[in-house]
């Protein structure tokens, strides 16, 4: 449906953009029409779209991408503390720093492939996580997390607890209390925050689409398909892989920066392996290697996380109160394993079902549905694989 034709791509892109921008209206009926949740769709969508450039195209499975998310958050908060509450320097700096970080980690990890590559990335991310709690506390503020503080009035002795914001100070911007992130005077909270994230998502999606359709993207797919053949075809796969790794790290950094923009606090738990695993789930759930899949997977997971983690035993009792007491109690004790804190159990089951029945993810599911409807009109020969 969305083959590499430039015009069709443009239409696809415009439809996607229109959908993202009108999510507040379109998703209100399913109870997702508020900024806190929608901006999560956008942020984790970006994270997954970037991750997909590495995993979906080259097949290299990184288990450490949350490290770049975390680095992006720290970098952004530092910009808030040192320079200005304007989000632009924070975002730019976060993307650059996480890109450099990814370049270094990728350079080493890509000396291996397959499971060894995955384990190397996991090891680096866990190291970063542990370091953030120990020797790097002057940069990360350890378990408390890095926060935006009041601007120091006198001499600065402690940059963690006293912000300087030299740019804001130089421009004579007044501060009453702890300021919110802003964009040239416009406060980035509530709906503004969502729209900032949405614009970033749209830009990120566009770049990913162009990469997908480019010669570079084709080489990445060739790496996944048959790296051996590629070698004997005169291509050196390593720099291609490193470029893909770095780009996906920059996407993660951007997502991390947006997390910091929407909530100016950076903690090390963002780098934990569970966070790295989550982006893998999102990408596979939606459809690895497809354009839309990663965003879809991210949105679905964040949506259900929001619903299931809000349910607790009391709400279950309320819903099931019509049942006889012993039945009600038994049912509640079973169901409560799947909700609230136990939401990950539901996620695990969902993931297993997808991998077993729809290995191509939700996008494959949609394509099959479309196939069912169009088969009667047009003989499907398997010639054109859907790529959207």
């Amino acid at each position: 449906m969305f083959k590499r034709n430039a015009r069709q791509d443009l239409i696809f892109f415009l439809v996607f953009s229109a959908f993202v921008l009108s999510m507040p209206v379109l998703l209100a009926p399913i109870g997702a029409g508020y900024p806190d949740l929608l901006q999560k769709f956008a942020i984790y969508g970006l994270f997954a779209i970037g991750f997909n450039i590495l995993f979906g195209l080259t097949g290299y499975l990184s288990f450490g991408h949350a490290a770049f998310l975390g680095v992006g958050s720290y970098a952004a908060v530092w910009m808030f503390k040192l320079l200005t509450m304007n989000v632009i320097p924070a975002i730019v700096f976060a993307v650059i720093i996480s890109g450099l970080f990814a370049l270094a980690i990728g350079y080493v990890s890509l000396k291996r492939s397959g499971i060894y590559f995955s384990i190397l990335t996991l090891a680096f991310a866990e190291m970063s996580y542990k370091l953030a709690y120990s020797v790097l506390t002057p940069l990360t503020n350890g378990e408390t997390g890095l926060q935006v503080k009041l601007r120091a009035s006198g001499p600065v002795t402690d940059l963690i607890n006293q912000d300087v914001r030299v740019l804001d100070a130089a421009m004579g911007i007044e501060e009453n209390g702890i300021p919110a992130p802003s964009l040239f005077g416009l406060e980035i909270t509530g709906w503004q925050a969502f729209y900032l994230c949405a614009v970033m998502l749209i830009a990120g999606f566009y770049i990913a689409m162009r990469i997908n359709r480019s010669s570079f993207g084709m080489m990445l797919r060739a790496i996944k398909s048959n790296q051996n053949r590629l070698n004997y075809t005169g291509v050196y796969p390593r720099p291609y892989l490193l470029a893909a790794f770095t780009i996906s790290g920059m996407y993660a950094g951007l997502a991390g920066a947006l997390l910091a923009v929407t909530d100016p606090l950076a903690g090390a738990e963002r780098m934990q392996w569970t966070a790295s695993g989550e982006v893998v789930l999102m990408t596979i759930l939606g459809g690895a290697g497809t354009l839309l899949g990663p965003f879809l997977g991210a949105a679905v997971i964040k949506y259900f996380e929001n619903i299931f983690s809000a349910i607790n035993e009391n709400s279950l009792h309320a819903v099931l109160s019509f049942l006889p007491d012993p039945v009600e109690n038994a049912l509640v004790s079973v169901l409560s394993m799947f909700v609230g804190e136990g939401w990950h159990l539901t996620l695990g089951l969902l993931f297993m079902l997808i991998v077993i029945f729809l290995p191509g993810g939700l996008i494959e599911g949609f394509n099959r549905l479309i196939g069912l409807f169009t088969r009667s009109r047009k003989q499907t020969t398997g010639e054109n694989r859907e790529e959207a």
Partner: protein, 252 residues
């Protein structure tokens, strides 16, 4: 005629097994040089030493006067050596057109080029060339299919197209007609003759003597890791040593 490839005293062992034993071979530019020999003689191993898959234990290989042992495979390809493998090595999940475009891009862009913005569809000249080559090997009508769906014989032809689009100076063919029907084999012979006119030097490994005698200017016979005979097709046909080693005494 000048030698394009010079193999000197190459040895290669796998553990205790001596797969290549003081191998010497000169391939003249513009010729088709066949290497024949019984199974396990070391033919594929020799090609592996030429393309950088294996490193010989001792000896030297020069291509156009330049030593190539120790170079990584992509560098050797960029010098102008392309190879069709004994079991087809293609990009199974991509379309035939993409399969042929990738080597074309590798030839144009070199071993690495960060070309992340230009659409593949904008590379009209390459696409046209790729469609031409697919036509030459008789796969043009299937160009939008996924390569995994091809028959074994078609995969070989696709792999041949992938090599041809690079216009290599030296083409290594490891049993290019194995698993093909008689008709497909004859088509491939015709195809190889046609590209022979373009002056690509070829080394061809083949068990099918019909193919060998249709194409080769020169034949070398490898047995148990060493060359036992070397000559024109007529000389080889009459060589008793060859019949002894290769055919167990039967007549060619």
């Amino acid at each position: 005629m000048a030698a394009i490839l010079q193999i000197t005293d190459v040895n290669k062992s796998f553990g205790g097994l001596r797969a290549l034993w003081d191998v010497n071979l000169t391939v003249e530019e513009g010729t088709v040089h066949a290497i024949i020999g019984p199974n396990g003689a070391g033919k594929s191993t020799l090609l592996n030493c030429l393309v950088g898959r294996l490193k010989p234990d001792t000896g030297s290989v020069t291509f156009e006067g330049r030593p190539i042992i120790g170079l990584p495979p992509h560098r050797i390809n960029q010098l102008g050596i392309a190879r069709v493998f004994q079991t087809p090595e293609i990009f199974e999940d991509l379309t035939l057109l993409d399969n042929v475009l990738i080597p074309a891009m590798a030839k144009e862009d070199g071993a690495f080029r960060l070309n992340a913005w230009q659409r593949v569809t904008r590379r009209r000249a390459l696409i046209e060339e790729a469609e031409h080559i697919l036509e030459d090997v008789g796969l043009a009508d299937q160009r939008h299919r996924i390569a995994a769906a091809l028959s074994r014989g078609d995969k070989r032809r696709l792999e041949l197209a992938m090599c041809l689009i690079q216009k290599p100076k030296l083409l290594l063919l490891d049993e290019p007609t194995a698993g093909m029907s008689r008709a497909d084999t004859n088509n491939t012979i015709e195809l190889l003759k046609k590209i022979g006119e373009k002056g690509i030097t070829k080394i061809i490994i083949e068990h099918d003597m019909h193919v060998v005698f249709s194409l080769a200017h020169r034949i070398s016979v490898l047995a148990r890791g060493t060359f036992i005979a070397d000559g024109t097709p007529d000389e080889i046909k009459g060589d008793p040593k060859v019949q002894e080693a290769y055919l167990g005494g039967a007549h060619l």
